[in-house]
Amino acid sequence: MKNLTYVLLFGLIISGCKREENTPIEPLTEQVDSLAVVTVSGKFTPTAGESVSGNAKIITNDSKHSLVLDNFMTSNGPDLHVYLSKESTPKDFIDLGSLKSVSGTQVYPINGTPDLGKYKYALIHCQQFNHLFGSALLENQ
């Protein structure tokens, strides 16, 4: 009875401590709006110990903005998110959602009407462990 109790309680606590899964590895080739105009773009620079490469660009068509990751590749990790950030670290940012794949071409809609002139960086960030994988400085075309 005692041993069963301990096992059950341990299981209950552990079941609440979920580690987010790693990002899918299947390369993506999402369609990019051919009528959209590239407003800013930049190349990814990895942080120490990580491997991130490719380009990030903001495209605009009819007042709709999206962030495109192009020729993109990153080392894998749990709970990777794509941010538009005011700084090269995730202090003040817009969360565009979970990273869809560790490689390929991916499109992330930017909702609302943020002042994109203030958000100068695209970041790949592990949210659960607060670890920055890479950043791209977005500059005018």
Partner: protein, 245 residues
């Protein structure tokens, strides 16, 4: 939810109908209890010691004090502005605050990525013995301290999002009712069935507050109040095992 209520009613009905011959209960009820509950994105374990006095002519009513260590683990839990209560609720009268509306327009959120809180508190315990085997009760944490894991958090305030690298469990726990509370406090409604002289089992409905204090981010309320405490409220179901002394 309906299934759980029906199951509890059936449990009560069967237990009462099987009651043994009525004997007078001992004056003191002393036991330790191990409980576990599960909720949305979190799980808890609690170890309690209870010392109750049985009162009344038939000694069916119990009241007393105890101590409890509650451990709460989770993932990406949302914590909202903990107080002051004048900013988070529509009125603040102690106890009656339970019925106050929520001023969600004054809430910011702190999503703690890997929360883990241990709260060690003094408890107050109440119970009623329907039969020698079946009882029901309520307990609540009164005062104590918390320790636990520091974690990064995502802070959302006035449409802006930022990272707090180091949020930590609020250290001091104090029951003042509703949004006046400080820290992490556990409470339970439960039904208990004694399997034999020593062992009993419980079904539990838990109401749990856990609280984190932000490291570097701050909420600034409309009246200028600066806030760094954020609270998660959870209603969880679980089970417990008791050992009688």
């Amino acid at each position: 939810m309906k299934t759980i209520i029906i199951a509890v009613i059936c449990f009560l009905a069967v237990a009462v109908s099987l009651q043994a011959q009525q004997t007078k209960n001992p004056e003191i009820n002393q036991f330790v209890d191990l409980a576990g509950t599960i909720g949305k994105s979190q799980g808890t374990g609690a170890l309690s010691y209870v010392y109750n006095w049985r009162i009344g002519k038939k000694r069916k009513i119990e009241a007393g004090l105890g101590a409890r260590l509650t451990s709460v683990g989770g993932s990406k839990l949302t914590y909202t502005t903990a107080g002051p209560a004048r900013l988070t609720r529509t009125f603040t009268t102690p106890f009656i605050i339970f019925f106050a509306g929520q001023q969600t327009e004054n809430w910011d959120t702190l999503t703690v990525q890997r929360p883990f809180v241990n709260a060690l508190n003094v408890t107050i315990n109440l119970g009623y013995n329907f039969t020698p085997k079946l009882s029901a009760g309520f307990n609540i944490d009164l005062i104590g301290a918390s320790f636990g894991r520091k974690s990064s958090s995502v802070f959302q305030s006035k449409g802006e999002t930022s990272t707090d690298p180091v949020s930590k469990p609020t250290t001091f726990n104090l029951l003042l009712t509703g949004d006046h509370d400080q820290g992490s406090l556990n409470s339970e409604f439960f039904l208990k069935y004694k399997l034999n002289e020593k062992w009993g089992v419980r079904v539990i409905y838990q109401f749990l507050f856990t609280e984190y204090t932000a490291g570097s981010v701050r909420q600034t309320a409309p009246d200028g109040t600066v806030i760094d405490r954020f609270r998660n409220k959870a209603n969880n179901f679980g089970v417990g095992v008791s050992y009688q002394f």
